[in-house]
């Protein structure tokens, strides 16, 4: 593999982790939004808050990682994406602010009115942010972002059938991941009613997500033939794996195997993220955009790629044990320990 390929692979790993981890956090917000009235929804909201609380900042850092690596390793592509997709990315950025701040504020407020206000801001932005990020992915994948500064259409580059499909899938995947993760969290906390509630949600979202994905095939066929071609040829094994993992997840949820379903649900989503990459390989900004660009052509100077990859490898040596410790501490369920 070339240095450029290594770089995009590392970037894509970061993107996958962002989708899986932060996606689930966004999904938590989705379920917060649909948890029902203040009183009835309280137990669900508490569970969501407890599950997200200590980890969402760490999960969120993967996005920064992706952005920084994109501008370092593929600077012209970064500039093209950010300038053409200025509108959805600004909206996503504002959504990220609103979500993070509102979550922190809600946790730290004790009055019902404020909790409602901050809670609504948190939940709403949790749904809108992944949608806009999804439209960005759709715009790139359907070849609507050309190289150059704001060289693409500022509206139709992200407001088009493929983008709307990708946005919907992003929201759906987030909700689905969160529902499956929350099943296990609820069961660990011996909240059987909650576990059942999230089980129902996981089943419904799983089915809806599958249906949207199937319908999406038609959308892509009409709107993004090149992407469709990639997905049905080179990336076909991954697309099929995603389908299998999706069906397996549904069966596992039905049988209440909540820990296994975490793996299969994550696999189903991962396969889509890598399927997209494979479908548009070797392009970073694929045609039909006139000024399209490949991974090799868009890569930064090799000295930069070397330095960055080495720095990241050194960083990973520090990060991985730290992350493992974090997750281990939190996964241990400890009852009766009160933080004053």
């Amino acid at each position: 593999m070339s240095l450029a390929q290594w770089s995009i692979t590392v970037l894509w790993i970061g993107l996958t982790l962002y989708v899986l981890l932060a996606g689930a956090d966004f999904g938590g917000g989705f379920w917060d939004l649909f948890a029902g009235g203040t009183h009835r929804g309280r137990p669900q909201r508490d569970l969501i808050e407890h599950s997200i609380g200590p980890v969402w900042e760490a999960n969120h850092v993967w996005l920064i990682f992706v952005i920084v690596l994109l501008w370092t390793a593929f600077p012209t592509v970064f500039a093209a994406v950010m300038s053409t997709l200025y509108i959805p990315l600004t909206l996503a950025a504002l959504g990220i602010i609103a979500r993070g701040a509102a979550f922190a504020f809600r946790k730290a407020s004790d009055q019902l009115g404020q909790q409602r206000l901050f809670g609504a801001a948190f939940a709403l932005s949790s749904v809108l942010t992944p949608f806009f990020l999804g439209t960005v992915a759709g715009g790139i994948a359907s070849g609507r972002v050309p190289l150059g500064l704001a060289a693409g259409n500022l509206l139709t580059s992200w407001w088009n059938p493929t983008s709307v499909l990708a946005g919907t899938l992003a929201v759906g995947a987030a909700a689905y991941l969160a529902a499956t993760y929350l099943c296990a969290d609820a069961r660990r906390e011996v909240e059987h009613q909650l576990a059942e509630a999230f089980r129902r949600r996981a089943l419904v979202t799983g089915l809806v997500l599958g249906a949207v994905a199937l319908g999406g095939i038609a959308v892509l066929h009409a709107d993004a033939p090149q992407l469709f071609d990639g997905l049905t040829h080179r990336a076909l094994p991954l697309v099929i794996s995603s389908g299998i993992a999706g069906v397996a997840s549904l069966l596992l949820v039905l049988r209440r195997r909540y820990l296994l379903v975490r793996i299969t649900a994550a696999l189903a989503v991962t396969a889509v993220v890598w399927g997209w990459a494979l479908a548009q390989y070797p392009y970073l900004l694929p045609p039909p955009a006139r000024a399209n660009i490949t991974i090799a052509a868009g890569a930064a100077n090799p000295d930069v790629l070397w330095a960055t990859l080495i720095a990241l490898a050194a960083g990973a040596a520090l990060l991985i044990p730290s992350l493992l410790w974090l997750f281990m501490l939190f996964q241990r369920s400890q009852h009766g320990v009160k933080t004053p």
Partner: protein
């Protein structure tokens, strides 16, 4: 809708948006660097002495830190978006040159986030010694990430480590870019500023409580620890500031000329305090004869390069740069005097100064430190204009040509206004009702996460 070129309004909007979001984040970032060290210090004292006041301080500061960190994390993310949303031409050409420190900053920030999560969540789940140790990576990573980010800003002042052929970067030495000549003065100055801001901001909260008659050990310690830390750093910061200014005299003469309002190159240049630029002269200021020449080269014969060496189009706006520099220096010396006041009183009587004016002034020290921080930042950023990358790329050429940046500015203004109100409100409530939890904490009996 296809972009043409950025209108002057959009350029203005982009600069304001970047300014507002950076100016907002810089305070949070400083608290994120400084507060963990102070919190760990009081936790350590509490552990060693068993004194409840210290232990309580550690808990309270940690909680506030949690809220500030959460808000700082998102306000920092926005900046990485804005680098591309607002300045894509700069990133397109130079993104790879300054990418390395940002990648490292990402790792440092990640470590900070992880250990902050552990530190806040596991307070009662880890033995005290382990818990204290779990806080150390927060301090180190905070300092490291501030260092990395500021190296990139230093590079914008002293761009190094790349070859340019026909507007395309050909060879890159990312290490040379990172360790450019402006890196030492800028990073040291920034890190010390972070500790000063943190110390004085916390101190001013406790000064208000002391003024209101809450003179118990908890409040006195809270004030003394934070204020002393900041006061001790202040004279060091003034010396480093002098070094940073002298650095400009050799490396970025135009910026120094704008800071001091020197229009004409020459020796025996006076130091002008305050004043407004009218024509090619600072008027109505207090002039200290030979002052600047003496400060820069310790001799009145020292030659100072004036703005006349560069075309008018390449000059930064003198008025704002000069004024903000004076505000920074003035506030810095004011804080120095305040620290000396406490020092003298403590040396003579082991007690806070008797005059209520001490605490009244100290309760403003946090705001003063933040204003000095902002003023210093305006000095260095506006003093670099009209360049975004000094001598290489103009700010006007770096901006996103997409129309409608003004709308983005309005949206950002609204969101930041709401976020400011929310942060202040929540922190005030947390100070009053201590059972409220920080966002990373998991209260009660549930303890799950994915």
């Amino acid at each position: 809708m296809i972009a043409a070129a950025a209108s002057p309004i959009d350029l203005f909007a982009a600069r304001q948006q970047m300014g507002i979001s950076l100016g907002w984040h810089i305070i949070l970032a400083c608290l994120g660097v400084g507060m963990p060290a102070l919190t760990l210090f009081v936790e350590w004292r509490g552990w060693r002495t068993g004194e409840p006041a210290y232990q309580l301080l550690a808990r309270r500061w940690a909680k506030a830190m949690g809220v500030l960190f959460a808000v700082g994390a998102v306000s920092g993310t926005i900046l990485s978006f804005e680098m591309g949303l607002l300045w894509p031409a700069m990133m397109s050409r130079y993104g790879q040159v300054i990418g390395l420190p940002f990648a490292m900053e990402g790792i440092a920030f990640f470590i900070e986030a992880i250990f902050l999560g552990i530190y806040l969540y596991a307070w009662d789940r880890l033995p005290p010694r382990q818990h204290l140790l779990s806080g150390i990576p927060i301090v180190l990573a905070g300092v490291a990430s501030a260092f990395f980010v500021v190296t990139a800003n230093a590079w914008m002042n002293q761009p190094r480590g790349f070859d340019l052929t026909n507007g395309t970067v050909t060879a890159v030495d990312p290490w040379a870019a990172m360790f450019n000549p402006a890196t030492p003065p800028q990073t040291i100055h920034m890190l010390l500023a972070a500790f000063m801001v943190s110390g004085f901001v916390i101190a001013s909260v406790y000064a208000v409580a002391l003024l209101r008659g809450r003179r118990d050990r908890y409040h006195r310690l809270g004030f003394l620890v934070s204020f002393t830390a900041a006061a001790v750093i202040t004279p060091v910061q003034i010396a480093v500031g002098d070094y940073a200014a002298r650095f400009l005299a050799s490396y970025q003469t135009t910026k120094l000329a704008a800071i001091e309002g020197v229009y004409h190159t020459g020796s025996h240049i006076p130091l002008t305090v305050a004043g407004v630029p009218i024509g090619e002269q600072l008027r109505y200021g207090l002039e200290i004869p030979n002052g600047l020449s003496l400060l820069v080269g310790y001799s009145p014969n020292t030659l100072i390069i004036g703005l006349d060496r560069v075309p008018v189009a390449d000059r930064p706006p003198v008025g704002i740069v000069h004024l903000s520099f004076d505000v920074m220096v003035g506030l810095g010396f004011g804080l120095l005097v305040l620290g000396l006041w406490l020092g003298v009183s403590w040396w003579r009587r082991r007690e806070l100064p008797r005059s209520p004016w001490f605490l009244r002034t100290a309760s403003l020290s946090g705001i003063a430190a933040c204003c000095a921080l902002e003023a210093g930042w305006v000095t260095t950023e506006v003093g670099r204009q009209p360049w975004i990358v000094w001598g290489q790329m103009r700010t006007a050429d770096a901006v996103n040509p997409a129309p409608g940046l003004l709308t983005g500015l309005v949206a950002v203004l609204v969101v930041y206004l709401v976020m400011t109100i929310g942060t202040v409100y929540v922190l005030r409530r947390m100070a009053r009702y201590h059972q409220l939890a920080a966002p990373q904490e998991v209260d009660a009996e549930l303890g799950g996460a994915w």
